[in-house]
Amino acid sequence: MLEARDLVAYRGDRPVAHAARIDLAEGEHLALLGPNGAGKSSLVLGLATLVRTGGELRYRGARVVDADAYRRRIAVVFQRPLLLDRSVRDNAALGLALRGVGRRERDARADNELARLGVGHLGDRPALGLSGGEAQRVSIARALAIDPEILFLDEPFSALDAPTRETLIADLAHVLRDRGVTTVMVTHDRDEALSLADRIGVVMNGELRQLDTAETVFGMPSDPEIAAFVGVENVLPARVERATDELTMLRIADQHVEITEPPPPGDDFPLLCVRPDDVVIAREAASSSARNSFRARIVRIEPIGRRTRLVLDCGFPLIAHVTRQSARDMGLTAGDQVIASFKATVPHLLPRIRH
């Protein structure tokens, strides 16, 4: 539906974001994930032709030449609601008014979208008097009222408080599924991306670095920076000792590690990525299918939300996450000796970035 090749988004004369390739299928929900200032919003504004762009943008097979005509098929929701000083209904109907739709029809369609977003009762109210959550719902209703073929969402929830955000995300996910609108969403929140997206693109330092399914991006990040961003806390420098058809034998510090993933071609010194949730902690060594078990000392214990983060020393540093209940049941304290293990199927190998 939408194809970008070597797309560069400019702010003024300065190139600020680049994507080598984006292919968006009809009905697909794509999330662009990345830290603040990474260039995600610029990339989305480029895809929406709202900033100057370089490269090639094709919509339904044809190169986008008439930006005004292309923009009449899309809609963008920004971080702030950006409502006009008029009634809620008139705001929701604005895109339709700009398309010359008659008053009666546009009011009906606006009311319908407002009701779908749970703010139907606010139609006659002045828009500038709404709360943040209500205003953002009106902003989304305004975008959906024009029945866009692609909906771009530029961090629309980031200015909202947590409960409002969660409710709005759930409602929007329902509406998007219901209508099958193709969506590109910008967010720096992994959970938001997972809630709404089929595929995830990771943008870092102005570059779209990885675009794949959520499972691949989170399970097999393509470089250490992405690994760190998506929560793979253990990125360990390793040395390939031997590789067979079934297993790759690695050495990390003095320890021997076996994994099923083959080593990156031509790289004997890859980085081993292990998610903290994949590390199992036990008091004593036990027979299990995990091929990698290490005696470890608990260096530090840190509560993080509903979990506990353990910083371990196994001869190399290793981070593990356990539930708070497990930490209590096992009576874990700093300085304790434990067994840390992970399965050979769990880790992912990254080629070492050499400078």
Binding site: A48, L50, F78, R80, L84, D85, L98, L128
Partner: protein, 234 residues
């Protein structure tokens, strides 16, 4: 003190009797300043919007000229307009010297910089992302500009009031270009000057009251509009 009391009494008598000279001067003021302000709005709001919303080569220089224009002394404007309208001047064939048309030109030159400059400031104060949002909703550049002018309408209205205020109360340019012809180009300010010089304080006060009432009325309209908007927003 007696002069003031006598003047006010005379003013009340003239206003109560709808003195034709006073009413003619008030009407002439409204017509000339209204026409000059209307022309300034028609040309100045779009130009101010262009300066406020876009970036182009020479924009800063243009803005500097506009800002300078906001402080132009009326007598200097009057001098230049008289030179142009003088029988042997570049626009002498129009025969607009000592006419209301000539006064409208002079007052337009005084009002336009205020309308342009303050409109530009009003639109520069609008959230830049709002324009992007409007474009994303399918607005053409013209539609987006119009919506932004509407969105900052009270500030633009302020610009219009400032332009009108600049011309309704000026005397130098109107006196020089209009020649203060009784019943034609005599407006409130030139009439006040004349009546005061003759010692006719009753007439001068009557004219001054009307002038003040006009200015107060305009200020009241702006204030009510502003308060109404604030009340709707809260």
């Amino acid at each position: 003190m007696d002069l003031i009391v006598e003047g006010i009494a005379g003013a009340i008598a003239k206003l109560a009797s709808l003195d034709p000279d006073v009413m003619n001067a008030a009407a002439a003021s409204l017509v000339v300043s209204g026409a000059a302000t209307a022309l300034a709005v028609i040309s100045g709001v779009p130009l101010g919007a262009l300066i406020g919303l876009t970036r182009f080569r020479g924009r800063r220089l243009l803005l500097s000229f506009v800002n300078t224009g906001m402080g132009l002394p009326p007598v200097v404007v009057g001098l230049f307009v008289v030179i142009f309208l003088w029988r042997s001047g570049a626009l002498g064939d129009l025969n607009w010297y000592c006419t209301r048309q000539g006064m409208v030109i002079a007052q337009y030159l005084l009002a336009a910089p205020s309308v342009i400059g303050l409109t530009a400031i009003a639109l520069q104060s609008v959230d830049p992302l709002l324009r992007t949002q409007l474009l994303s909703l399918g607005a053409s550049r013209w539609q987006a500009a119009w919506l932004l002018v509407r969105e900052s309408r009270l500030l633009v209205l302020g610009a219009v009031i400032a332009g009108f205020g600049a011309v309704i109360s000026e005397v130098g340019a109107s006196q020089m270009v209009g020649c203060n012809v009784k019943g034609d180009t005599r407006i409130l300010t030139t009439a006040i000057t004349l009546e005061t010089s003759k010692g006719e304080f009753g007439s001068a006060f009557a004219l001054a009251f009307i002038l003040l009432a006009l200015i107060f009325g305009l200020t009241a309209i702006t204030t009510y509009a502003q308060q109404g908007r604030n009340a709707r927003s809260t």
